[in-house]
């Protein structure tokens, strides 16, 4: 029972991260109809920018960034997060402006290949010595390791404690807040109506006076901001950071994309649902079957769902037009 609860807590935290990243994939896909392969690299960028900032900021406050016992005041984490979000938002805007915008009318395959190119570019520029370097680093502690709640199961020797840490709660609540903001923006603001109109039919939207370029730019910025928040939260939970081009980052992004596809790509609620489905399958599969095959479960689930319901769980079926 204690194992079950512990896995449940982890799955909730990881699931909200997947959902955050999946939202970026699904928004871009909904509007421009291509997989933004570079999205996972924005997550990496968010993580590494947070690291670089933290490692510079902590000595200014007289704290040792390499000592996990020293905990800075809570506003440091907020500053780092906001700075990373801003930075990634700008990068997301630049990518769309420089690479994707000129391909708006090109075949989808060309855009996909460009996205792969942008992704490779970001990864390998990040690995350069004057950027983040090509070696793994350890993220400094920014949040106190409070135990908000703990439960004890069993008695005597077999007693097991399950702990809900501050970090899990922060991840879950921050992700929920961001997703609610997103939900409000897409469904209750003028900009959201414009985004949905562009997603539905770009040409008609342009004829109705919607500034398509500006809407697309905003989508990229917002998706990148969400992704950088996910990157920040990810390294808060798992401080061991791999170098920017490490396969583990690409896999993180891929799983989030799988989440978006499983939920029905282009569907905002589907991305959130898919994020949690993926996290539950991955975490419970890893715990109860074998942790060696955790990536296999995710991709097997993807292939299964695509074969049974190609438009995803919440997606609407696409009609082919000649």
């Amino acid at each position: 029972m204690s194992d079950f609860i512990q896995t449940l807590i982890t799955a909730m935290a990881i699931g909200s991260l997947y959902a955050l990243i999946a939202l970026g994939y699904t928004m871009v896909y909904g509007i421009l109809k291509f997989i933004n392969f570079a999205h996972s690299d924005i997550v990496v960028l968010g993580a590494w920018v947070s690291y670089t900032l933290a490692i510079r900021l902590l000595p200014l406050l007289g704290l040792d960034p390499h000592n996990p016992a020293t905990v800075p005041p809570i506003w440091v984490a907020a500053v780092v997060l906001l700075a990373a979000m801003t930075y990634c938002g700008v990068v997301g805007f630049a990518i769309e402006r420089l690479a994707y915008r000129r391909l708006r009318r090109a075949p989808r395959l060309n855009v996909l290949i460009t996205a792969i190119g942008v992704s490779l570019f970001l990864q390998n520029v990040g690995q350069l010595d004057f950027m983040f370097g090509a070696s793994p680093q350890k993220m400094p502690t920014l949040l106190p390791s409070w135990e908000l709640a703990s439960f004890t199961f069993g008695e005597g020797e077999s007693a097991r404690r399950v702990v809900i840490g501050l970090i899990d709660v922060v991840i879950f609540s921050l992700a929920t807040i961001l997703m609610l903001v997103m939900q409000y923006m897409v469904f209750h603001t003028k900009l959201g109506v414009a985004m949905r109109a562009v997603a539905y039919n770009t040409d008609t939207a342009a004829l109705m006076g919607i500034p398509v370029d500006r809407v697309v730019s905003f989508t990229f910025v917002f998706g990148s901001v969400l992704a950088s928040a996910a990157g920040f939260l990810f390294v808060m939970k798992y401080p061991g950071m791999n170098q920017p081009a490490h396969a583990i980052w690409v896999l993180l992004g891929l799983k989030a994309f799988v989440a978006a596809v499983i939920g029905g790509i282009g569907n905002v609620r589907g991305a959130v649902l898919g994020g949690f489905v993926i996290a539950f399958v991955e975490q419970f599969g890893a715990f109860y079957i074998s942790s060696n095959y955790r990536d296999v479960y995710v991709f097997a689930l993807l292939i299964l769902i695509l074969l049974v319901k190609p438009s995803g769980l919440l997606g609407s079926p696409l009609r082919e037009k000649v």
Binding site: P107, L120, L254, Y293, D295, I303, L306, P310
Partner: protein
């Protein structure tokens, strides 16, 4: 293709004429094998071998990505699958036959024939996997298919990492019985080391010849034209009576077969240990870049880009950390400036000004 003299008629003459390119290729491969290492030394011969394998991979990937217009980014998965199968057969095969895993027999000796058979089996096994991966392509298109093929490569990588350690002596192999073959003892995450090193220029360039001739004949055959029609417009092709499902799966099977054979060559190459990470998407991306830069559908263009992209890093060792940045920029700039690739859908020989009017194999420019 010569227009001046009428081709000889009759079955025997036709078969002979059909075999001509293979004969030329084998002679060329033997020449390379015996002359080249003496001329340019072992290090550069190794690069020439790598180029050959890269060309086989890129040309076969081009059948799926270029001719049929599907987008597979799991080609290294097929390669590694075939490589492991071939290495498994030669490693345990030579253990059963000769009792050890050293190379046996000289040029075209018994060991090399075992190697040839194992490469064939590797190709067939990969082709089987290609059939399975091709099936989802019937329902998925474009980017969805890309993700499925990418997921396939990752699944292969993870599964290969979980395999058992190698059995390193013939006695242990005999004593252990069949039960030790599940899961297959192919070395786990460390890779399949100790495979007898049979790959040489002769085999690489013989297989290269076969790949190119098959790809070229496929391209100018009715099947190839059906594949190209699927690329250009699926609905129109279907309306013209092309069996879309069959063409897509066929493209995957053929491409996977040659990737598997190339994997066999790769696994037996001196100085190489085939390992699970070879199945990952990074290697697949390398081949995708080759096909994209060469021109999707152009065999000679892809050969050209595979040659350049394999040879260039060897001469730019000092700039290793900039290599992938340059590749990435090349990809982006290519898509912005010349999205159809270096040669587009043309072949080098079609661009020769004197022949352009006579050749009818060039298909009209892809609409974009």
């Amino acid at each position: 293709m010569e227009q001046t003299s009428p081709p000889p008629q009759g079955l025997v003459a036709n078969v002979l004429r059909g075999m001509m390119p293979f004969a030329v290729g084998i002679i060329f491969a033997s020449l390379l094998h015996f002359v080249l290492p003496g001329m340019i030394g072992r290090y550069y011969s190794r690069i020439v071998t790598d180029i050959g394998i890269a060309i086989v991979m890129a040309v076969s990937l081009n059948i799926v990505n270029g001719m049929t217009g599907q987008f597979s980014i799991g080609h290294a998965g097929f390669m590694t699958l075939g490589g492991y199968t071939a290495a498994f057969i030669t490693y345990y095969g030579s253990m059963c036959i000769w009792g050890d895993t050293a190379s046996h027999g000289g040029f075209l000796g018994r060991g090399e024939w075992l190697f040839a058979v194992s490469c064939l089996m590797g190709g067939l096994f990969a082709a089987g996997a290609g059939y399975v991966v091709g099936l989802p392509s019937l329902r998925l298109r474009g980017d969805y298919l890309a993700i499925v093929t990418l997921g396939f490569g990752e699944i292969i990588r993870v599964i290969l990492q979980q395999t058992g350690p190698l059995i390193d002596s013939a006695e242990a192999l005999k004593e252990g019985g069949w039960s030790q073959m599940i899961p297959p003892p192919v070395g786990g995450a460390l890779g399949f080391g100790g495979v007898p090193k049979y790959t040489n220029l002769f085999w690489v360039y013989t297989i290269l010849t076969i790949t190119i001739v098959v790809a070229y004949r496929l391209k100018i055959s009715s099947i190839g034209r059906a594949m190209i029609s699927v690329r250009e417009d699926e609905i129109a092709a279907q309306a013209m009576g092309v069996n879309i499902a069959r063409q897509k799966v066929l493209a995957f099977v053929i491409a996977a077969f040659f990737a598997g054979v190339a994997g066999g060559l790769f696994a037996h190459e001196p100085g190489v240990i085939v390992s699970p990470k070879d199945a990952g998407f990074q290697r697949s991306f390398d081949y995708v870049i080759m096909t994209v830069l060469g021109g999707r559908g152009s065999i000679s263009g892809v050969m050209l880009s595979a040659t350049i992209l394999t040879a260039l890093p060897e001469f730019l060792r000092d700039f290793e950390q900039y290599r992938l940045i340059v590749y990435a920029l090349l990809l982006i700039i290519m898509m912005l400036v010349r999205p159809q690739g270096l040669l587009g859908i043309h072949e080098i020989w079609n661009l020769w000004p004197l022949r352009r009017s006579k050749v009818s194999t060039a298909t009209p420019e892809a609409k974009s």
